[in-house]
Amino acid sequence: MGLKTLGAATAVALAMAGAAVADGHAKVKVGVITTLTGGGAGLGVDIRDGFLLAVKQSGNDGIEVVVEDDQRKPDVAVQLADKMIQSEKVDILTGIVWSNLALAVVPSATAQGKFYLSPNAGPFQLAGKGCHENYFNVAWQNDNLHEAAGAHATSVGYKNSFILAPNYPAGKDALKGYKRMYSGDLAGELYTKLGQTDYAAEIAQIRASDADSVFFFLPGGMGISFLKQYADSGIDLPVVGPAFSFDQGILQAVGDAALGVQNTSQWNKDIDNPANKAFVETFQAEYGRLPSLYASQGFDTANLIISAMGKADVKDQDAFRAALKEADFASVRGKFKFGNNNHPIQDIYVREVIKEGDVYTNKIISTGLTDHQDVYAAECKL
């Protein structure tokens, strides 16, 4: 895989080396800051690979991409953003996976007149009062998938959920989002350490509670550890969660423990539209693995930029911003538009983890929320 990724990156670099600019506009330079090493690297790698694939497929040589690794550390992300803005002179920043890093980088980047397009993190601070005309979120507001999980739990009749998430901005958004649309009682509510991998203490508390269901948000390796330990604990309460803990990149590592779990997502590989079919096929051909939610978000982000480039010059900020806001691209998730706060209005689906041959994956079983917008949009003055 390493070689293929490198190949893709080289291809992009070669495509960019041509000085000719196709449509007469100035080149657009995009800085991708994402997590490529350490814990959670799989997420950043998927965002990057999805992004580069879209750039490569577009054949547009007016876009230049620089990729850097934030190691999931806020201080490193801030340094990289400064470097990209000041010495690399990028026009657009994107790529950040984690909400705490996004909160450290986005306000200063937009204040310096750069566009920031989030392919993942969507903390509420940036969706409500802190919204900015140059900040667009191409994934979701953090609460969205959790709201859908809460709505799903209510609709299937869970009455006493035990809920847990890591103690960081997105974790708090998660529990708030779940509680917003879940109408039953709570058997317990827990915050865990970010990056924690041992959940014995939490699982013991779930066992001791009289919960009838468990909702958890633990992205990346945290979710793998939790699910494996939960499956081994002998507790057989039904589990619901957002897509992050049941995503393509981690399902193989979780194995049978995840089978049958219901989770919520705005994207899945079986969404039936031509853009998505082509995306799943070409991603698999290029990288030799199924795309994940994160890859789909990276892919959409690049296509959004490319669609705006066809309409406006990035140096004319107002025109470029208007072009971004139109969201005139074929999103792999189907219907997609921006609300007043530059966050998505979209459908969110309920999926179930299944096994296809030897590969664990998801299939959509119902639509959780239709044309869903976040609650913070009302506070945003855009």
Binding site: M1, A41, D198, A208, S225, A253, R289
Partner: protein, 305 residues
């Protein structure tokens, strides 16, 4: 809070402590005997976990996987001792930190090169999966119980090795006066390589044991390494007994703190806020414990001045 839950949490704390002991024992041996700060110890933990996951994937046998983790970590330990670490004994700690930090980066990138960025799968063996009902009606994971037993067995084995055998005598002697033991005809460099490989093997074993219940991914060693350092500071540098006591203390404090603090705060706060404040404080607890121990025993619980 029921007594069953408390006992279960004490067992969880013990299991976590024993796992930390496997990490800290190697670290403290290497520091005590050779005076070397090895930041790459966490990488050996990762090597053990990846070796176990790879071998379990090929053969399906958990025992072979454990053997592979020991062998791979010991091999890589010996290899870096011979090529890099050996040149660092005479240098000061800052050089050692710098060089072994470089080793972390090299190990992480190499692992990513070989296995990719996505977590690997390592399952609990069939025979150890599920729970066991202990006296008093406590349901507890068979696998975690096995980790506790393995950890305690290793602790006893290490104690016997250090206090009763000839190799142990040399290790202890090397700790006190490395020139003198060299002058008495003991091949110091072979002894050091052996001790280093032993420490590495323990880290690898711990990585493999934990890998089966957590995710096997690049960078998994670093958070554990920090805790292992806390353990040896609390226990006293160079002391196996201290490492065991420190590890169990840290394991219990962390696990019980995580459960009890949010629960205690919930008495006078609303549950969401209590959970948030309680868990924030719980994650500081072991550092507060470390500060407290150092206040009264500056060299750690079993450290010599």
């Amino acid at each position: 809070m029921s007594s069953i839950l408390i006992i279960e949490q004490i067992l969880n704390g013990l299991q976590f402590g024993v796992m930390l002991f496997l990490m800290a024992a190697g670290l403290t041996l290497i520091f005590g005997v050779m005076g070397l700060i090895n930041l790459a110890h966490g990488s050996l933990y990762m090597v053990g976990a990846f070796a176990a996951a790879a071998v379990a994937g090929w053969t399906g046998s958990f025992l072979l996987a454990l053997a592979a983790s020991l062998a791979a970590a010991a091999l890589f330990g010996a290899l870096i001792e011979l090529t890099v670490i050996r040149r660092l004994y005479a240098r000061d700690h800052l050089d050692q930190v710098l060089a072994t930090f470089a080793l972390i980066l090299i190990f992480s990138e190499a692992t990513r090169w070989v296995f990719g960025s996505f977590p690997l799968f390592l399952n609990i063996p069939e025979a150890l999966s599920g729970t066991l009902t202990l006296p008093g009606g406590i349901e507890y994971s068979r696998y975690r119980l096995t980790i506790i037993l393995i950890g305690l067995a290793v602790a006893v084995g290490l104690f016997l090795l250090i206090s009763k055998t000839r190799v142990g005598m040399r290790i202890r002697a090397g700790e006190n006066d490395r020139e003198m033991i060299g002058a008495l005809g003991v091949d110091i460099s072979v002894l050091y390589t052996l001790v280093f490989a032993l420490g590495a093997a323990l880290a690898g074993l711990s990585g493999a044991l934990v890998g089966a219940i957590q995710s096997v991914e690049v960078g998994m060693g670093e958070p554990v390494l920090i805790l292992a350092f806390v353990v040896i500071v609390i226990g006293g540098i160079g002391s196996i007994k201290g490492a065991l006591a420190g590890a169990i203390l840290v394991g219990l404090t962390d696990t019980l703190g995580r459960t009890m603090l949010p629960w205690a705060f919930a008495v006078f706060m609303d549950p969401a806020a209590a959970s948030s404040v309680g868990s924030a404080l719980a994650s500081m607890l072991i550092y507060i414990l470390m500060a407290g121990v150092l206040l009264f025993k500056p060299t750690g619980l079993f450290g010599s001045a």
